[in-house]
């Protein structure tokens, strides 16, 4: 290390070269990057489908693609985005890279299983891609029976197998993280000293481990019913299609929290670092993550309010749904309070974090609309729902993902991204996003059902606005793609701690050495102790 020049220093990227050194790596940082490539690919696959959907909806007549194609487009958009982008997005890429570093570990507890998880995601993804190329699947990402088992003439089985395999990837990642957090923390890293990103990723892992197996068995039953013609949900035999919906949403509602909890973790990190203050109410925010993970399992029936679920079950699920709103609200209030009397920097990650808080607030509040039974009956299965979950998943998860990517980019690559371009992209994405999805709330309230290829004329103006927003949004997403690649070669060399952050991951070199730390860190103070980094204390405000 004393061999001077930065380029000479050995780190995880230059320690070995060649395809084999990547495909057989057990280094969590390299696996994190492998995930990053994979999910970026699926993001653009899903994005291409989204683009075609928005082009089709420019006109009410359905004259860009056929209805069959349109149905496949929205199904494959959902499958690609949810199972192969959003669910692995933050935990498997940034989480993989930084969770061990943030708790001062050399690696995850089971590095080989970690590599296996990535391969499972790739194999699952290949099945899904095969299904898409071979002719597509048209059941909607929810695979409701009996349409998916009996009536659809598309590649349901290949897609289902792909999701099944990707599910195991998710389970193994969650298992690995849980064990790592329990058993691999550095000396002195007590639970109450863990960064909030670790807390939220831990909570996410619990959901992955407890929920995903139910999806797996549901897919097996779906497979048996479609392939062997033995009906479990078949109404012709006396089976109950609503049972499928229960089993599907037992996983798929908590899956929403798989997507958004790690996003919340990133926001906690970013808001703290760029206000240079510990997160207000650290303990409360940490416990709120756990509360969301637990309560998130009690609310799935709110997807079934008009599905012939019993009235009483509807009441119970609506009641419980409001409980899960509270920890989310607490988080938003705490982030806002963190800004108070802080030292606030407008660096790109912080701009994305502001975007997240704003959009997540709107997404969360419209969730309250949907949990209100009498109102949900009107707007369920309309564009109101579409807008709501895009505010959470795109406005929430993707904004936070980009915040995290900008925040940790210097650590991962050793290079800075171009700040001006990055700020511009944050602004463009925020504006494009709102223009795309805000009109959809109104569309839904007006009664425009989702998954419609052809629609009545009176909805056209709002659809045109939405499509216009989508093109802005698409441009916004291409910008980071371009300047990140550019920065790998031309970006400024980043120091080990460009933001003045206090986390352990910033106490080692950028890019980090193979085993993360040259010597085992010993933690002596709480997370977000900026005094130890900045040195002197200057009163502001």
């Amino acid at each position: 290390m004393i061999t001077a020049a930065v380029q000479e220093r050995e780190h995880y990227l230059n320690q070995s070269y060649g395809l084999k050194s990547w495909l057989l790596t057990k280094d969590h940082k390299r696996i994190g990057l492998l995930y990053l490539f994979t999910i970026t690919l699926f993001f653009f696959v899903g994005g291409a489908f989204a683009t075609m959907i928005r082009v089709e909806l420019l006109t009410p007549g359905g004259n860009f693609v056929s209805s069959d194609t349109y149905n496949k487009l929205f199904t494959m958009h959902g499958v690609a985005m949810i199972f192969f982008f959003l669910i692995p997005s933050i935990p498997a890429s940034l989480g993989n890279f930084f969770l061990p570093m943030m708790i001062g570990a050399r690696d995850l507890a089971f590095p080989r299983i970690n590599l296996l998880s990535w391969y499972l995601l790739v194999v699952g993804g290949l099945f899904a891609l095969f299904a898409m190329l071979a002719g597509g699947v048209d059941t909607g990402w929810t695979f409701y029976t009996p349409y998916s088992t009996t009536y659809s003439n598309s590649w349901v089985i290949a897609t289902a197998i792909g999701i099944f395999i990707a599910g195991f990837s998710s389970i193994l990642t969650g298992l690995n993280f849980i064990v790592t957090v329990h058993r691999m923390r550095a000396p002195g890293m007590t639970w109450m000293r863990m960064p909030l990103f670790v807390w939220s990723t831990y909570a996410t892992s619990l959901i992955q481990v407890l929920g995903t197996p139910v999806l797996a068995v549901t897919i097996i039953l779906l497979f048996c019913e479609r392939f062997f013609h033995i009906g479990i949900f078949d109404p012709k035999l006396g089976g109950d299609p609503v049972l499928f919906q229960h089993m599907f949403w037992f996983y798929s509602h908590p899956a929403v929290y798989i997507m958004v909890l790690p996003a919340m973790g990133i926001i906690s990190e970013v808001v703290s670092v760029f206000s240079r203050k510990p997160v207000f109410g650290y303990r409360v925010v940490a416990y709120a993550s756990m509360a969301i993970a637990v309560l998130g399992f009690l609310v799935w029936g709110h997807h079934l309010f008009v599905a012939t679920q019993s009235v009483y079950a509807g009441l119970v699920f609506s009641f419980l749904s409001y409980f899960v709103a509270i920890p989310s609200a607490i988080k938003v209030f705490n982030w806002t309070a963190t800004l108070y009397k802080g030292s606030i920097s407008f660096a790109t990650p912080m701009l994305y974090a502001f975007g997240f808080i704003g959009l997540f607030t709107i997404g969360g509040l419209t969730g309250l609309f949907l949990a209100a039974l009498g109102f949900d009956v009107h707007v369920t299965d309309t564009y109101f729902v579409v807008a709501h979950f895009h505010y959470i998943m795109v406005g929430g998860t993707i904004m936070a993902y980009l915040a995290g990517l900008h925040y940790w980019w210097p650590k991962m690559t050793g290079r800075m991204y171009p700040e001006a371009w990055a700020r511009l992209s944050a602004l463009v994405i925020f504006l494009g996003f709102n223009l795309t999805f805000f009109p959809q709330f109104i569309l839904g309230y007006l009664g425009m059902p989702r998954r419609y290829h052809v629609y009545p004329d009176e909805f056209q103006v709002l659809h045109v606005l939405s499509t216009a927003g989508a093109s802005v949004l698409a441009a916004g997403y291409l910008m980071p793609m371009i300047y990140f690649v550019w920065s790998l070669r031309y970006g400024q060399v980043a120091g080990s701690n460009p933001w003045g952050a206090a986390g352990l991951e910033w106490q080692t070199a950028s890019p980090p050495p193979v085993h993360n730390f040259d010597e085992m860190p010993v933690v002596t103070h709480e997370a977000y102790d900026y005094a130890s980094v900045i040195g002197e204390e200057i009163q502001v405000g």
């Binding site: 048209d138 012709k236 409001y322 509270i326 609200a329 209030f333 800004l339 109102f375 002197e536 502001v540």
Partner: protein, 325 residues
């Protein structure tokens, strides 16, 4: 055509204003918190912007009092939302006793509608203004969903069972009917119109055309052609229980349970007779699954309902869901 930019959907049922009031309340709450958060972020971000790279704000740890305030107050507000939404939902799920019964069979990709008087419509539903209407619905293939935005109501239509939806219109006109649950290739073509008519016009419409037979008359024909009466003798001497006056009664089953003889029970008894056998009888009835269409089942149900009524009642088109708790 495309120049319109509507913001509020039409209100055309008794339920619509209720839903809109709830929506307004939700909107006010949401707007308040959105503005609160946005303002706070903007204000703090500008007021406390970083002025020097070395500055370090004074650390203040959380305040429990604040945490409690901003969890308890939102919780209280959400409980209002829950109570309001729940009471509306409960109201939506209980059709009034005097609602006009109409039957709906959904299939890929059309709505088949049958009136008590025998009129059949496809993708159109004519209803009289100001009368409560109760739809009993089932599907022949996949799950569909009956959605009328102007009435603010929606209900999934599931194969293998009945579901119910009711509304009472308040404004004459023509309203969209959508299928809201994705059902395959021509999902977006599975749409239609609800015509709300002045009662007089509705009567004219009902008597116009020449319906083959009323729903229960059709059921009677089926009852005869399927030879149901050979066992289900009206005087109760047959091998199977008499069906006169059955509808709406509580039936004692062979397995000791009790069940109310509603549409779902009668449907099940036709298609799966051995599932719920009446006490004192043998499970000798064959299934009619595959022999009777969903429409046919509905006709039989209506015929059996009509058996329980006195002749005067029979002419009156009214619901028979009287003795429900």
């Amino acid at each position: 055509m495309g120049s319109k930019l509507p913001i509020f959907p039409e209100q055309a049922s008794t339920l619509a204003p209720d839903v809109d009031h709830l929506a307004l309340f939700l909107l006010v709450v949401a707007a308040f918190f959105t503005v609160l958060i946005f303002t706070a972020i903007f204000y703090f971000a500008i007021r406390y912007r970083r002025r020097s790279d070395r500055e370090l704000p004074h650390v203040q740890h959380g305040g429990m009092a604040l945490e409690i305030v901003w969890s308890v107050i939102p919780f209280g507000i959400t409980m209002v939302m829950f109570g309001w939404g729940a009471s509306l939902y409960y109201k939506e799920s209980r059709p009034p006793d005097n609602a006009i019964p109409i039957y709906v069979v959904a299939k890929q990709w059309m709505w088949k509608i049958e009136h008590m008087e025998g009129q059949r419509e496809i993708n159109e539903l004519h209803v009289p203004l100001g009368r409560a209407v109760k739809l009993t619905m089932t599907s022949e293939d996949v799950i569909h969903s009956f959605f009328v935005p102007a009435f603010r109501t929606k209900q999934d239509v599931v194969p293998g069972k009945y579901s119910t939806l009711w509304f009472q219109s308040t404004k004459p006109g023509k309203y969209h009917l959508f299928c809201a649950e994705y059902c395959g290739n021509r999902h977006s073509g599975m749409i239609g119109w609800i015509y709300v008519m002045e009662p007089q016009d509705y009567q004219n419409w009902l008597s116009g055309g020449a319906p083959a037979a009323s729903l229960s008359e059709g059921g009677e024909k089926l009852f005869t052609s399927l030879a149901c009466a050979n066992c289900h003798k009206a005087d109760g001497t047959g091998r199977c229980p008499s069906l006169v006056g059955l509808f709406g009664k509580t039936v004692q089953l062979a397995d000791g349970n009790k069940v109310v003889a509603d549409e779902a029970y009668i449907r099940e008894s036709i298609l799966q007779p051995a599932a719920q056998v009446v006490a004192g009888y043998q499970p000798v009835m064959p299934t009619f699954q595959g022999l009777v269409t969903e429409d046919g089942v509905l006709q039989l149900v209506e015929y059996i309902k009509s058996l329980g009524e006195t002749p005067e009642d029979k002419t009156r088109a009214s619901g028979t869901l009287g003795e429900r708790h």
